[in-house]
Symmetry: C2
Subunit: 328 residues, 2 copies
């Protein structure tokens, strides 16, 4: 019997989950829930029903794990606790500052319902968090660094598009190679925001717009660009569509730490991702943790968990004895 997955919200992430389920033979997509008119939603998987979000509770007995694919700003803070009262759930809540509050809300709902909720699954938060934890536990005396990119930042791309005279735009966050090299050398450098990342903007200006003013306005935008070395390239809409339509991302979590009676030995632990599709990779992580949610619930566990709490073998479809034989 396969693990029956529900997808709640069918945007980029929901479509990524749909694709990822096909790569996991022990799972099947049971239903998709949307706030749009279900008749307007066309899935990529034949024979799977689409229901309005309001109808989710009617499917309680047909779904083992509900994967929430809404946004962190307003959707997930409400939806995850609500659905955790009826389903085992997994979400990718990524508003770092609000994770403790979200955890508490999901934990309360899931405990009362004897369900499992795994929150903030993906790569950051997610795999990057897990690597920060493990590296800091192994090398307690050390420094930790996170670099993001090269990749598309949705928030910064949105900020560009809000500038007057901008028709379209895309922003790449780029880690500075020399900063990465300095960290890897083991010297544990102190790095400013400007020294760690640059920002590259590809901007389509509206006809007759003042490009000098647009560039100046982008580069001086507080929080988003002012603290970085920012480059602005004006290109045509055609070039933007052709060369910048993907959603690549990635990054590096590096810990540089010392061991030895006199701290005479240095060690570098590095975890990195190079992703062609940010939403599809995030979806792939979520689907693996949906398996863990199913297993934890089957054991009778309940409440909220994060990637920091889940035994690694629970995310794999392979039996523990086979994992030990082949991977250890």
């Amino acid at each position: 019997m396969k693990i029956r997955i529900g997808i709640f919200g069918y945007g980029n992430l929901g479509r990524g989950v749909e694709a990822a389920i096909r790569q996991n033979k022990d799972m099947e997509l049971a239903a998709v829930f949307t706030r749009r008119d279900p008749a307007t939603v066309k899935l990529q998987t034949a024979g799977v029903p689409v229901y309005h979000a309001d109808k989710a509770l009617k499917m309680k007995n047909e779904i083992d794990v509900m994967i929430l694919c809404g946004g962190s700003a307003t959707d997930l803070p409400e939806q995850t606790p609500q659905l955790a009262a009826h389903f085992n759930v997994v979400d990718s809540f990524d508003t770092h500052a609000r994770i403790p509050e979200h955890f508490a809300n999901v934990d309360r709902a899931a405990r009362a319902a004897k369900k499992i909720g795994i929150i903030s699954v993906g790569w950051d938060p997610g795999m990057f968090s897990l690597n920060r934890l493990m590296a800091s536990a192994i090398l307690p005396e050390g420094e930790e660094y996170t670099f993001w990119g090269k990749g598309v930042s949705q928030g910064h791309s949105d900020a560009i598009r809000r500038v007057e005279g901008v028709a379209d735009g895309k922003q790449y966050t780029v880690p500075v190679e020399s900063a990465l090299a300095a960290v890897r050398s083991g010297t544990a450098p102190v790095l400013t925001t400007r020294e760690k990342h640059t920002r590259e903007c590809y901007v389509v200006a509206k006809e007759g717009a003042d490009k000098v003013r647009i560039e100046e306005e982008i580069k001086s935008m507080p929080n988003y660009f002012a603290d970085y070395d920012t480059t602005v390239h004006f290109i045509s809409q055609e070039e933007l569509n052709e060369k910048h339509s993907g959603i690549p991302h990635g990054g590096f979590v590096i810990r540089s730490g010392k061991t030895g009676l006199n701290r005479e030995h240095n060690h570098i632990i590095e975890y990195s991702l190079k992703l062609d599709s940010n939403p599809e990779f995030t979806a792939s992580v979520i689907v693996a943790y949906a398996r863990a949610a199913y297993r934890l619930a089957a054991e009778g566990q309940k409440g909220c968990k994060t990637v920091l709490d889940v035994p690694p073998s629970y995310i794999s479809a392979v039996a523990p004895a086979v994992l030990r034989k082949n991977l250890l």
Copy 2:
């Protein structure tokens, strides 16, 4: 109250564990056990007793976790099950092919005694195994690669020193940069043994020995060198002592995998280590998992575990709520 650690076997690894305990404020070294005459063993930590290995059971109530620091060939297969009948234990058993058998033996002893045994802890097996598991669960359709080095292989260094006419020697395993680059490019290349690593030997010849014959004998040695491009450098004992006395190591675990309805997106997950001291890093991993063994036992769990089974937060001294707040 601190976690009281015993060290069983006081070689390079045991000394590494001793140093690592000092970096973890929630732990203390309770005693060291040796098969040598305890009077001849001088610790680096004041006030800690050294006992003969035969006396270990007398310290049952003074030790929360016993860390086994013997060798995998003959020590650990006997010692870990024996001690797991009385103590929570952690070892770094690294004979890959015999892990299932060792697991079964330790599991039997630990279950009967209601103790926890965590085996094969370190970096390979250990952190590399964990990363293979996670990456393969996240990207089920993909290829996995492990590269080792640059680092000293003890087994290959020993093999060199057994060649007639060799006074001393050290061997470095070196990953081939172009092979690493090919893997990182996402093309999922098929690589032969020779294409992945080279072997660099630093050899001190005895006075009057035939260097041509030594070089030929090393390069053609089956299993150890014949399948690799091997370089032999003859140097003086002084130079060997001066430049090659360290025990650095490291390596790379890389998974290249596809997602998307048509597998149109590629992703690279890479975990790498660059270690100044192989035994001290291994010891640091072991000490973190000793904390997990203590906690699992305190919860009433029993039996044998590996790094694949342990919830990541159990290895950290930091409270779960703080981890969520700061690392997620």
